[in-house]
Symmetry: C2
Subunit: 412 residues, 2 copies
Amino acid sequence: MGIIVQKFGGTSVADAEKIRRAAQKAIDTQQQGNQVVVVASARGKQTDQLVADAMELNPNPPKREMDQLLSTGEQQTVSLLAMTIDAMGHKAISMTGGQIKMITDSVHTKARIKSIDGDLIKSHLDDGNIVIVAGFQGVDENKNITTLGRGGSDTSAVALAAAIGGDCEIYTDVDGIYTTDPRIFPQAVKLEQISYDEMLEMASLGAGVMHGRSIEFGKKYNVTIHVRSSGENKTGTLITHEVPKMEGILVSGATIEKNLAKITMLGLDNHPGNAAKVFAHMAQAKVSVNDIIQTEISKEKANLSFTVNKSDLDEAKKAAEAIKADVNCESVFCRDDIAEISVIGVGMRTHCGVAEMMFSALAKKKVNIDSITTSEIRISCIVDQNQAESALKTVCLAFELDKPVEERSYTE
Amino acid sequence: MGIIVQKFGGTSVADAEKIRRAAQKAIDTQQQGNQVVVVASARGKQTDQLVADAMELNPNPPKREMDQLLSTGEQQTVSLLAMTIDAMGHKAISMTGGQIKMITDSVHTKARIKSIDGDLIKSHLDDGNIVIVAGFQGVDENKNITTLGRGGSDTSAVALAAAIGGDCEIYTDVDGIYTTDPRIFPQAVKLEQISYDEMLEMASLGAGVMHGRSIEFGKKYNVTIHVRSSGENKTGTLITHEVPKMEGILVSGATIEKNLAKITMLGLDNHPGNAAKVFAHMAQAKVSVNDIIQTEISKEKANLSFTVNKSDLDEAKKAAEAIKADVNCESVFCRDDIAEISVIGVGMRTHCGVAEMMFSALAKKKVNIDSITTSEIRISCIVDQNQAESALKTVCLAFELDKPVEERSYTE
């Protein structure tokens, strides 16, 4: 018995049949003695259609108006869900972001949540309602409608769970988080649980199940997030705070990121402030930079590399060429035939040898490593794109990501 | 120079081309030195589609949820219109009913407006914006979204014009109000102006250009309503307070209402309170009664007839049969093969002989009159449905409704 926030994404409410299934899930959860809040996204391709309608009239629409437009998709879903639950003989009430006072800042199309009126939701719950809340949307202090950006409904759900003290279930078309992408490594196994930090690294490295901001919210406000299938009724993956058991696992997951390009600036003056100059310039050019690697090549000179999304490559290259003379860089070169393979695990904090295991596995398969970056719980290697998938498989086998945790040989 | 509220119905914003045309009209009006508020309906068949989506999930959806759902159609139109005006290089801001604080009562699907925050709209106008307001919708005092029912966007527009002291233009697919339905009487002519009272009678008798409530609002708050074509740029029909000139016109328009049925209760006891009993019973059965005719047939007995919408006939008949014994009525009979022909004109207040002109025109054409009702500015005859259209034409010719007012022979 408790409060459960269930989030249904666009594919989980795409048609009448799926809306009924989501409604039934909420009813079942209530019947088991819980209070239930549902957070829903726009149906299937509705958002795409609205974007197309807008683009036909204005290829560069004002963001406030875009939010006003797109927020209707979620509003439609929640009212339809409430009607469906009513038709099934149970009490439901739909709420927009404005109605639950999901107050955000005024940064349209990627607003951040400032506060939520949990009391209003609780009073509707106490009246016996299943409360259906439009995801992805809020209002600023002047009642302008805002949206939370990509993955925003996940963030709505986790933030709501935080505001009313509930657990959060994310229903999706996969049945949980896997050790790696099963489309590339079919032996991948479903994780029972994963820490917020690991999931954040996975999310930022292209494991697209959940958006990073919702996980940050979960971590900050201590909300357990259960990622599970909207089609089947079985346990998925719990995203939680780190528990001691997790440290016994060397590597929780591995990812592949293909949508990368790399810029290298050779032999630039290794003066304080030169790197800052380069990245200030990139920021001005609206290029989002991922990993940065700098190495000294002499007392005066260094090589500076960084990765960007492929779509930003042209802009990044232009910006690098423009700043080149300023930092006395000898030459700039780019690669877009690369991919990044990463392993992630909080176990790395306490175990040595993970990097060595990864590199020797790649060496055995004759995968050339272009560059390496690490964080406290992650090791990433940039490799040739045409070797990337086999590199991922090799790494997965080396860390036994095809086996449940308890069957792995190196688990403590 | 003034404030003009322009209302565009669903057909006037049905596609990108029409949205651009509406945007251009608003811009042109602003360029002529006016402050412009646009009120828009949902695009084309959007509302029908949403209703169909709802019906698939719940054939009897909760009205609050229906309002939550349907209001998205107008919200989409206003944001698209604002984007379009922006693309054309002018300032615009879209507003939902909630955002302009269009406060209504809580009677979902047919709410009534209680107040509007005109100051907010004025401040956006003073900033140089064309303000685009979602028609048909408001919010109650608990922020539940409400809708105003059929023709609601007209009411929104007139109410807004009243709140901010502007004139109101209703853009539609006809170019004004005609003396009668041109599909039946092609020689019908466009009226230059018509009084609120006449328009109210026309509206209630099935001339579907505008909904009665918006006209009541115009009358109450002294808003001049200009009904005109969204396709052409010419003057339409002004709905205004009565001016002396109007009294010189015997008949302003004629209408035909085919969607009628008539219930007659024969020989009921003519006791005080019996008619009240009958109509209380009808109200309980949710039957909406139009005209009522009662005639004494003896010291103790009377015949009571009333018309209802055809769709209410079954319910009305059942209700009449149920109350029959209670009022000692001898028998009940119904007709659904009838239509009502009416002539309307404030001139009737000061001119005699209109009724006689109408009856003798019908007699000449051998049209049998089933029954007659009148109001201060209207005479209605119920006739056989198969004679109804020729009856309308006859009446139109008798009152010269094929001629502009100044060419008519009996005009003072």
